[in-house]
Symmetry: C2
Subunit: 283 residues, 2 copies
């Protein structure tokens, strides 16, 4: 496994691999790796010849009052996990390797970035799309792997790639959960034991939403139940909860067949998100 | 010479060429080709194995009151000129091939896009950078060729490519002029004979600026002369005229060694731009 911090070194190495016929997969991460990330690396390993895992806590996707400074950084453990999961090349740049002081270019997706995570975190998705654009140009992947846990993010990346004719296939991998149902997140380590127990309501409420959809409840009923459940749960402050179109994140008609339930909650000073795809029976 | 309108067909063909070891050059144009464009194609031909010329009058870089509808379109002549100049592949898409109705992604360079052309044409450069981003992803060039005539544009493209770690070398080719000194432009064909004579002052004033710089005049003196000359010229309405830093387009100190003189003028309802790099003697 090669561990590199220079964009140019990564490009040269990836190009050598490609020249020898390798299919290239990239797994962009912010480090603090957990089983969710490892599932992405393993998926890439199964489909590609060379797997590039990028580890970069990208400052531009954090708001001024967010947790950039205290975001967990565990590089030694990350490298060991990368190796075990089958990474070929780790790209772990410093901020200076990624941004010059006079950097002035932004990739912006409008529309789907303005709601939910984008409404709560106004500059977040510009930071995400811009850094992913850079990572894609540095690693030139055939396939790029993202987790469904960040549902809106993978949708935004897909939109960016499609709108800009990017020669990359975006792969979305299922949410990985702990045994108690909590979706894995690097931010889970901020939770105290009692907060962690309180946070379980997020997955429980989304599970109920999926069951209600299968039972033929209408989207607005499911959204109401989800909202009320989170609103009245102990130790939880909901940021948003909604049942919307899985592609556009717009409201869905009463007779839709597919939707996504999205929710974000605060547990103390920690913000958690989760989601569930909903399938409705034919009416 | 292959003539293709589908982005996917172009990508497949270019990738086949690359797989056989070809260096790929791209020359993005809006058609209505003249010797300026042909000089770009010939430069690409001299340095690359496969030359892709793109012909696309990009609607998103025209303002609502600009000349998108009447912009000259001469596809048959363009194809013949492409062939003669050594183009391997012409990519000539329709608007529908390039933009889906729900396209939502924009590449924005801040700073240098806000002045001069960007001040006069507020949405222009977003349109340029976004379409060039798409063309780069479709054609995946090693080298891309732009004319110095659009000085600010090539600077914006360079900034975009550098900020986003694009694996492409931007090549800027010199302004090509008619025998009378007028910089070649597809918009020159809008000019009447007398307007064309009046337009010559643009190049003459820039030539004076270059001579003044070599003679040791200060940048502000040169800018004054340029502005006054254009202001008092017959049939000309200056939009802007300035002597600025060639990289940042910011104002220059009195003792600078390099600068660029930029000017835009209206001749009747036609807007023309031109520029000259200035070199100052050591003081």
């Amino acid at each position: 496994m090669d561990v590199l911090s220079s964009p140019n070194d990564v490009r040269c190495l990836v190009r050598r691999r490609r020249a020898s016929g390798h299919l290239i997969g990239v797994v962009p991460t912010m480090g603090a790796l957990h089983e969710g990330h490892l599932s992405l690396i393993r998926a890439a390993r199964a489909e590609c010849d060379t797997v590039v895992t990028t580890i970069f806590v990208n400052p531009t996707q954090f708001g001024p009052d967010e947790d950039f400074e205290r975001y967990p950084r565990t590089p030694e453990a990350d490298l060991e996990l990368c190796r075990e999961a089958g990474t070929s090349i780790v790209f772990i740049p410093n901020v200076d390797d990624m941004y010059t002081p006079d950097a002035a270019t932004t990739v912006t997706v409008s529309g789907i970035t303005r709601v939910f995570e984008g409404a709560s975190r106004p500059t977040h998705f510009d930071g995400v799309t811009t850094v992913v654009a850079k990572l894609f140009h540095i690693t030139e992947p055939d396939r790029a792997y993202f987790g469904q846990k960040d549902y809106q993010q993978q949708l935004v990346i897909r939109k960016m790639a499609s709108d800009l004719n990017w020669p990359v296939t975006i792969v979305t991998c299922p949410v990985v959960r702990d045994a108690d149902g909590l979706a894995l997140s690097s931010r889970n380590r901020y939770l105290t034991d009692s907060q962690r127990r309180q946070a379980l309501v997020l997955n429980q409420a989304l599970t109920t939403a999926a069951e209600q959809a299968l039972a033929g409840h209408r989207p607005w009923q499911i959204e109401n139940t989800l909202t009320e459940t989170l609103k009245h749960a102990d130790g939880i402050r909901p940021d948003y909860a909604a049942v919307v179109d899985p592609d556009t994140l717009q409201s869905v008609p009463d007779d839709c067949r597919r939707a996504v339930a999205l929710a974000a909650v605060w547990v103390g000073s920690t913000r958690l998100i989760d989601n569930r795809l909903l399938t409705f029976p034919e009416t």
